[in-house]
Amino acid sequence: MAEPIARLDDVSVSFGERVVLKNCSLEVPDGTIMCIIGLSGAGKSTILRLLDGLIKPDSGHVYLHEHDICHMRESQLIEMRTKIGFAFQFAALFDSMTVGENVSLPLREHTTLSEKEIFDIAMHTLDSVGLAHTYHNMPSELSGGMLKRAGFARAVVTNPEIVLYDEPTTGVDPIVTHLLTDTIKRLRKQLNSTAVVISHDLQSIYMMADYVAMLFEGAIIANGTVEDVRKSNNPIVQQFLQGSEVGPIPL
């Protein structure tokens, strides 16, 4: 594996009584696409939040470029996050702004580009997810899948060096799924950026992933290339990949 750009080291997270991650470790190699799979409620989104410094672990460390982000001040975190894109599971567009304003916001705030350049880049990014015609719409006028794509566009518009995608293809049609999967691959190739993708869509995972990690009961139980994980002889991984009802995973 390449050098890790992001790393969870022995991390535990719980919400009240509920233990979500327990001594979980994970390395995200630089310049790769890493997919995280796991049951619903397993804590996948929690991992992305940790990597973005949005929550702090109860114990353990989160490293980004070998800097421990758990001890950073909020102002340092804010600075750090300008280099990380985050496409949220439920889009999380700002509902007081138009779709175009949402996508151009990071450009407007963090660059010195002119209005014309900002408009062009935002429009181009929206176009790449098939949403150019919604530039002037309010988020409330978009469907769930369209919101998802707009959130995707906002996360990648600044070409961040790491992009965290939380289920980018859930709730969108097969054609757009293909489009988004291709976009993730293209961005990685063009910018040599790193992507951490949570997905339940095995087909698109097989299409794009360099590495796959499976989260189960608070820890990573399988981690390797797509082939490694597919050939894993862990019965839990096999049951998950086959989507079978019978097996060691309790329903």
């Binding site: 949005l54 949220f88 990071p106």
Partner: protein
């Protein structure tokens, strides 16, 4: 019949008493720790806000927009509240005063009270009902729909982006609204004094001018400034700490307004005590 100590301890009554007292203690403890958490969180938020303002990291367009939303849109209700309060105050005092031969003091009494107490406080209470609830609900719904996290993920601090523009806007607008409230309150009082107790406009105004100094107006505006901080900081803090979906947003908005209004009454007393103690 003699009971052993153990028997008494194990009797249902003793157990119930123990349960209740432990319950009361626990709930008092929880209250205290909640309050400490609230105060601590609020202080941190105010500190962050102050730092952002002093570093001049201000979004002017958004501040102007908030001046319109929080300030200008409250103008009508502030004017109406103040007008009718000035009127009812005058109604109650003017006729009586004339009966006892103090008719020439009515202008002073009404304007003194309006400028020093009623104008700043009622404007703040009315604006709290609108703006504090609006801020708590807006930031609260942003919190529960992950928009606050999204803001952070884009490298934007919620304090700079959301809290500071609202704070500056209301610190400008509430004193302005208070000036309007003062003027219309006194005017309403004067009108009723004339209509009900036949006190002449000239007399009323002369008495008002004699009683109320420029200093009183400034102190009233200082109060308004403090109330603006209370309204925005309580609303923002409640909003940003909202949990639990739509129901949570409702709860945040309600408790923001209640907390805010109580604080306004308390702080009004405290400020009157210190500002006017010498007078």
């Amino acid at each position: 019949m003699a009971h052993t100590l153990r028997e008494v301890e194990e009797s249902p009554t003793a157990q119930a008493v123990e349960r209740v007292s432990v319950g009361v203690l626990a709930s008092v403890g929880r209250r205290v720790s909640d309050m400490l958490e609230y105060t601590g969180g609020l202080t941190m938020l105010m500190w962050e806000t102050a730092k952002t303002i002093f570093r001049l990291r201000i979004r002017f367009a958004e501040t102007l927009n908030q001046c319109y939303l929080l300030g200008y849109q409250s103008l009508i209700i502030v004017l109406l509240t103040s007008l009718f309060t000035g009127m009812v105050f005058s109604l109650e005092s003017a006729v009586q005063a004339v009966q006892y031969g103090f008719g020439s003091f009515v202008g002073g009494i009404v304007s003194y009270t309006v400028v020093r107490e009623l104008g700043p406080m009622l404007s703040a209470v009315v604006v709290a009902g609108r703006a504090c609830a609006a801020i708590a609900a807006e930031l609260g719904s942003m919190e529960v729909t992950e928009q606050i996290e999204a803001l952070k993920s884009l490298g934007l601090a919620p304090v700079r982006f959301l809290v500071v523009p609202r704070l500056l806007a209301l610190m400008i607008m509430l004193p302005l609204l208070t000036i309007f409230a003062d003027v219309i309150g006194v005017y309403g009082g004067q009108w009723i004094a004339h209509a009900q107790a036949h006190i002449g406009t000239q007399d009323f105004m002369a008495s008002a001018r004699q009683t109320v100094g420029f200093e009183d107006v400034v102190k009233g505006l200082f109060k308004a400034l403090v109330f603006a901080v209370v309204i925005v900081m309580i609303g923002s803090y409640q909003g940003l700490t909202t949990k639990g979906g739509a129901a949570g947003v409702g709860k945040s908005a309600t408790s923001a307004v209640v907390t805010c209004i109580i604080l306004i009454f308390i702080l009004n007393f405290v400020m009157s005590y210190f500002l006017y103690a010498g007078a």
